[in-house]
Symmetry: D2
């Protein structure tokens, strides 16, 4: 069947509702923090729910910040604080001190895929300092040990990200892995305005670079929290969706009402068949991204790294000017 490419559970849930698919085993909550900040939670509770949604069981929290693509220091700080809270809410069996490995997935050389590597550039890294000087170097008796890695992409390394991360985890034994990645959305409206935080990791086919292996608690053996921002829409998706709208619109169009009846007679399968015939095969290797993606990625990577810094280092030791 026709599969919409989106990494956002929220978009899948919306599409299901729109298509009147009954969602069993999936809970949905929405909280308006203020006019420009909405927190939605999709909890996939059963294997059946996971199957319908096409996503693993777990909690998917979405921070929608309508103006996140604009510059406003206070607003971005508010989002970072909200992100810190959201991250903490997904940590189970909290230890007093945690060893956390932050992984920046993606390709630094492709602007919309550089989110993960750029988040890592701005983190407050402490593991080596604690290891060498003790935690008293920070003037407190509880310090989380933060480490990070940018594994690169397979075309550069010849290895799966999973292989690299797994090796490092076996060697350094963190309590928690945080994976940051650029995502694909279904709608251009979501780009650079949405943060998804989950406890399900990164799963095959997701991310701008389409990971082939899951990076999750099952494959790594430690809990994984993933943080993602959609920065692209698959080119096929965008054309698909617009054409679907066209066919639907034609079925309702006043000026085309003699067509309406005929198109109305097409069922979903026939519509998809029609679209598939017309889609250029080139489009599969293409993505759609905003023209100002460099500024957005620069800004958003800072917002995420600040969120992680606040979550684990209390924000007091925030690095300056990075």
């Amino acid at each position: 069947m026709y599969q919409i490419r989106t990494d956002l559970a929220l978009e899948t849930q919306e599409k299901m509702q729109q298509d009147h698919v009954e969602l069993k085993g999936v809970r949905f909550l929405e909280e308006k923090v203020d006019r420009n900040l909405t927190i939605s939670t999709v909890v996939i509770e059963t294997e059946n729910g996971a199957k319908t949604m096409g996503k693993p069981k777990g909690t998917y929290i979405t921070i929608e910040a309508g103006n996140m693509d604009e510059e406003d220091e206070d607003y971005h700080r508010e989002i970072s604080i909200q992100l810190a809270k959201t991250i903490k809410s997904l940590i189970r069996g909290k230890k007093e001190e945690q060893s956390v490995l932050v992984v920046g997935l993606g390709n630094r050389a492709v602007t919309p895929d550089a989110l993960g590597p750029r988040v890592v550039d701005n983190l407050f890294i402490t593991r080596h300092i604690v290891k060498e000087y003790g935690k008293y170097a920070f003037g407190t008796d509880k310090v989380n040990r933060i480490s990070s890695i940018v594994p690169g992409v397979m075309a550069q390394t010849g290895m799966e990200s999973l292989e690299i991360i797994k090796g490092i985890i076996d060697e350094t034994d963190p309590d928690l892995v945080i994976v940051v990645d650029a995502l694909a959305a279904r709608s251009t409206k979501r780009l650079n305005r949405t943060i998804q935080v989950t406890d399900t990791g990164i799963n095959p086919g997701s991310g701008v670079g389409n990971h082939r292996h899951g990076i999750n608690e099952k494959s790594l053996g430690v809990p994984v929290i993933s943080i993602g921002i959609p920065t692209v829409v698959d080119a096929a998706t965008i054309v698909n969706d617009t054409m679907y709208n066209l066919i639907t619109a034609m079925g309702q169009s006043e000026t085309l009402n003699n067509l309406g009846s005929s198109l109305g007679e097409l069922n979903e399968a026939e519509k998809y068949e029609l679209i598939r015939e017309l889609l250029s095969p080139n489009l599969n290797a293409m993505f759609v991204t905003p023209k100002d993606i460099d500024e957005s990625v620069k800004r958003l990577s800072f917002t995420i790294s600040e969120g992680i810094n606040i979550a684990f280092m209390g924000g007091k030791q925030l690095e300056y000017g990075k």
Copy 2:
């Protein structure tokens, strides 16, 4: 009227033919150099031709290299040599020695727009050496003086590229300006496989970054040769075109033949109206680009810079390993 966004004169010419528009004042030539290398020349000879084509009078030479998006050192060298010939064919009133300013347009931080800046990184720059040590530093008595500039984009500089280039030209007085820019095509098939070389410069609305002012002989006062490779398609164009195909196909579809008659009755204007209604306004600020754009831009920028090096420095002094 509905305007296709393409910077390639070849695509405009093709579209005109396809729409059975009579092209007066436009000449077209095609030469197959070999199986994988075709040179097409569009010459817009009259103001009328320019108006129909929506492009200024002048010569537009297109090197189509079907495998240019792949790695093959010999093939790329062949393209560079062809590019060198093409550049030379557009230089008028050749002086024995030339002073050439190469301008790398575009935004280095946005992968598909980084072509111009990256070409400049690999040029063999000689102007300062000739100025300081004389041309005998090169062991010959004729040396072209090559200089270059990456002006940056308006969001970074607060200035039009035109203002920066014009100022530098007034100060350094080159005989010729070569402008390198990433272009927008209409079809994804052309991306990273086509080099357009023209004597018309860069004109308003062209390039990935949509220049607002012409960078051409008229605005600069010296001849301008522009070299471009399409690296993106406008998102609106891609959706537009696919939908146009859909409507056309529906008008011919066997399975939909009762629709056919009705859609066949829509004229062009009605088709465009229908499409416009359905297009998301977000799409105007979006572009479509291949997922492996980083590798392509890296490779193609080298092919272009080598072409320029061969054209002006005979290839003997080619820089190594850059």
Copy 3:
């Protein structure tokens, strides 16, 4: 005569004092703002003073911030605010609104020389917005128009920075030019801890890249304020100075007191002759820089850009997360 390579007027003045050279036509002021922040002002008032100091007439203000090489957000903000005040104090004949061109000198690809280009990355650029939408886009009726350029270095462009800047100024007509550059100090103690702000521009032989032409009010025709941070010491200087100390120490050493009398008999000229004989000629093309220069340049470039943003945009519209 033996010439110490330093771009800091403060170091020249100190050396003169240490050598008991009488400084006529030079005024010196020092103000301790707090324990970690000292402002020194050297004013060279006469041509004679300029000759003795080896620097043009004008005002050289040095902000010495002992901990500037460390991370501390509040401390860096304090420095930025101090820098903003210092910049403003050097603007003559203040207009209500200014058009300011900020020039980031240096080579982005050489870490200690990347200060200028990186400062420009973080500026709040407004000229194009005011030009397109009017100053009311900022919600006020007075807005300074900020533009910027990174001219690159001669090996990349084939042109002098002066030629590029002069051309752009003729074309865009700013009221004021601010030039940011990485400097060479005489002492490693000053590296990354000192900001020099002057109204004399950048002069031949100064900067990490050793500019060959002055970039100053005389050459540009508009007032020039230069801002620099020393990030390197010339390798020859460091060896020179240590050897000078050695010879001097030997003349005073207890364990070497029978040498003392002999070395004591060498005059300054003989000491320099001795040093010159022993210096490796390679050293002239070398510089000395701290191992953690990447972190320092990242941090300091932000401190300077913030200072400029505060000076001209009041700090209200400071960009976030850059």
Copy 4:
């Protein structure tokens, strides 16, 4: 005792000779390939030899290429071919097909330390292709599987490079590890003109970034070949050496012959004591590097990656334009 900081076994050997230290358990060979290419081999055969040299037992091959800091494509290709031979000569128990992990050590953001990361950028990576499509994708039945990693530096990752590499090796099980790193020399003459290839790996205190743990066969469990080019000299070393020369010269100086006798009476220990007293403590955190280091690192990283490509992929599939 006073320890000279150099990563080049050749320099240590030279210094020993110069100081008339008898080297037992160390073999030395020199071969002049042509006027501009010399291959020296230092083999440390016994534990005693290792102790005297301050370096582990093993083979250290040095390719000295007097003009390697210049641009000359043919010359650089000759060096690459020589490097390929040298690498192959150090592989023990050759298997028909090898799985090779290339590690690019160092900090990409610090120009002279970026050699390792930049070498990795230009490698021909095959492991993922062989894994997915089989070796027949290359049209041959024997293909080495090349993978690579840029681990980053401890300040960025919070982890030792050793931890990262060890983890990846345990996971991906290569037959051979090649480690590329920028080195510190004792003499500025060697900078950017020397390649050292060893079978001893990278050892504590070596490299521009001063690694704290050995990356070698003992710590990794697989053979390690290390390739390094000296790009810096420690600032303390350069001053030390020049002062040592000064003291020695004074002991022989004609114009200072009454000093001579006294300085001649100082033993080595007294000379070092004298130098140590005068050395600035700041110098320990400083390095000396050539001003044109960016061009050198760009060129040399390509020469090394080409050498590795030739050694393992026969040079046929060399990537173009990278």
